[in-house]
Amino acid sequence: MHKRVKGLAKAAAVIAAASMMMAGCTAGGGGGTGAEGSPDSGELSFVYMGDADQQKAFNALFAEFNKEYPDIKLKAVGIPSGNWATFSTTVATRLAGGQKIDIIQVATEGQRLFASKGILTDLAPYIEQDQDVVDDYWSDISPNLQKFNEEFASGPDGETVFIPGGFNTMAMYLNTSVFDKAGVPIPEDGNWTWDEFVAAGKQIKEKTGAYLTGAGSGYFVDVMPWLTTNGASTFNEDWTKPTYNTGEAVESAEFARSLVEMGLAPKPGGQFDGNTAFKQDKLATLNGGRWPVLGIRDMDMVDKTVVVNWPTQTTNGSPVGWDAWNITKNSENKQAAWTFIKFLMSSEAGEYFAEIGGTIVPARESVANSPAFTDNAPEGTVRLSEAMSFATPIPSIDQGAESQKVIEEAWATIIAGQGEAQKTLDAAQAELESLVGE
């Protein structure tokens, strides 16, 4: 009997050791070199964030790629994680679990994390190999996007590990039928101030009973727009120091709280369904980047919606986050991966994706200004692309998920009326400082 127990223990130890070896071998793959493979054949694994709504568009894009490269078997895995922090965690877990991934589409919130771990290939040789293609791409995208990519998403030694793709800025989608009923004019040039926004909200509330806006605490969609339109942010320009408790940041948070207090936004702490309320004319504005367009199309509200800039206190502002593509060091098929990235960089792919319902602003300005992007979209859609000129990259330190939690938690506390703004942001600031200092 004793021997049997020992045997079982041995078996358990063997399994544990095997698990460890598997994890150890695959973790990060920092030392992995992969292989070049063939540029027009082989298997390719591409991981991206995409929920069920976006899946159709992605699948169509992949089918388009396969028309041109039928011998590249593209295994695309959409992770419906809802936010980029969760996406990064999911991908990291899969890598640790030994999953082979050739390309990871990462948004700003996760780029520094992946870049800092040394798991991505230096793209310089590939760029050199197809310099004309890359030059054509650089010349057609916002210089800001290229600059942000260099500043915030380079590898540990400054190498280019990401090619930036489409992006999202923040804007407001106005329900023209609510504005008309309330007799509130739509901001003609797309610009309005916080005061004008509140005045509009009060009139809308009085005349129609509709809410002006939602009250959330999402880092990108709720916190950053109010900060950036008041000249504030969560971190300084190079993300080395948190700035979440400056006077401007406190003023922004207090303003967001005042919208709830005035009854212009529903109380937080429940499950407010913005899309349904928008459709029913019970909500005057939807906030978002490009992604609300899918819902607006589904609700048949395209003609009743206008896109305007976020209301301002001191200056036009918006956070911006962008997709970026890389090749992992472990990729066994780097040439095929580069072929796919080149496809994603092309005007054809950009136009096709925009037409079939992509949820991002195309990186190529020629595409963002073309009917592929502006047709079947609310009036003023091009403002999303223009916002890149005044946008601030969403600060995303290595400890992205933790800092996001701190930022959102503090904001939620303030807008729910559970904490005084200055005190709450001071506490959050201290936590962020400790994260940066780690």
Partner: protein, 306 residues
């Protein structure tokens, strides 16, 4: 003389015994294999992991006892453990109390049809996934549009913002958990009640005992093993609570609903600190083992075992 010696002298007995053993192993092998792969292996792996610093993406680094030392200096951990114990204690009390009351009520129903209906109705929420239940209650408790707030407003009562108020969020989660999981405790209690011999109750009644006396001196003592089982199961389940908190409050507001498994998840899969997360997991194991052991040690004081 041992049995082995006797069997060995019988021709073919040893072979027969070996065959029987082999058959036994064959039958249990799927379960043993699953246990090794999904329980024992990960457990040993967690122990090893607790000695490492590992962010999933780069090579692990051996840090000795550092992760365990951190458990004692982590300023967040006491609050997290407090939340978890409050939740677990509240779960045990409410589940046992309401589970028993409902079981007594249903057991005393004369109409079979009503009895069946009551069983299904009470057990039904337990069949719904936590994800659906969580979203449902987010709607119900919405401070502006939720049914609870709206009905309360109709009779002039202003309710707190349950899920956004640190003082109310944990009680709200406790209530939601009770609503969802009570059916399970109820079924256990009902099964326990039905094992109480009716002869004993009849005898007590013949002796002139009141309903309360029958319950206190006959039913409750005979139900105590069932209640003991329910206590253990409820405590372990409560200590593992994660889904509703992740979906409804994400540990907030202000950390008021962050329980130990939520904290473990945050450390492992948000802070990419797998070593410390493993140390927290081992702490959970020690606590659950310790409390369960205490429950077993204390059972003689209140569990009727004859």
């Amino acid at each position: 003389m041992s049995n082995d010696t006797i069997e060995a002298r019988r021709p073919g007995a040893l072979l027969q015994r070996r065959r029987a053993e082999a058959a036994g192993w064959m039958f249990v092998s799927p379960a043993v294999l699953l246990f090794l792969v999904f329980v024992a292996g990960p457990f040993v792996f967690a122990i090893v992991l607790a000695f490492l610093k590992w962010d999933l993406l780069t090579q692990p680094e051996f840090v000795g006892m550092a992760n365990f030392e951190r458990l004692f200096s982590d300023p967040e951990l006491p609050g997290v453990l407090w939340n978890t114990f409050v939740f677990a204690f509240a779960s045990i009390v409410t589940h046992l109390l309401f589970g028993l009351l409902l079981a007594l009520a249903v057991n005393s129903l004369i109409s079979r049809v009503v009895g069946y209906f009551a069983r299904v109705a009470i057990f039904f929420p337990f069949l719904i996934s936590w994800a659906a239940v969580s979203l449902l209650w987010k709607y119900v408790l919405d401070p502006t549009f939720g049914y609870v707030g709206q009905y309360a407003a109709m009779v002039g009562i202003e309710l707190p913002n349950f899920l956004a108020d640190p003082a109310w969020a944990l009680p709200a989660i406790i209530f939601i958990d009770l609503w969802h999981t009570l059916g399970f405790t109820f079924i256990i209690m009902l099964a326990g009640l039905q094992t109480v011999p009716s002869e004993l109750i009849e005898a007590a009644r013949t002796d002139g005992a009141s309903s309360w006396q029958i319950f206190w001196t006959v039913t409750l003592p005979l139900m105590s093993p069932t209640m003991f089982f329910a206590t253990i199961i409820t405590f372990i389940g409560a200590f593992q609570i994660f889904d509703p908190i992740q979906i409804i409050t994400k540990g907030g507001p202000q950390g008021s609903t962050t329980t130990i498994i939520m904290y473990l998840f945050e450390k492992g899969f948000q802070a990419f600190d797998m070593g410390y997360a493993a140390a927290v997991a081992l702490l959970v194991f020690v606590i659950v083992m310790g409390v369960t052991l205490l429950q077993f040690l204390g059972r003689r004081r209140w569990v009727h075992e004859s």
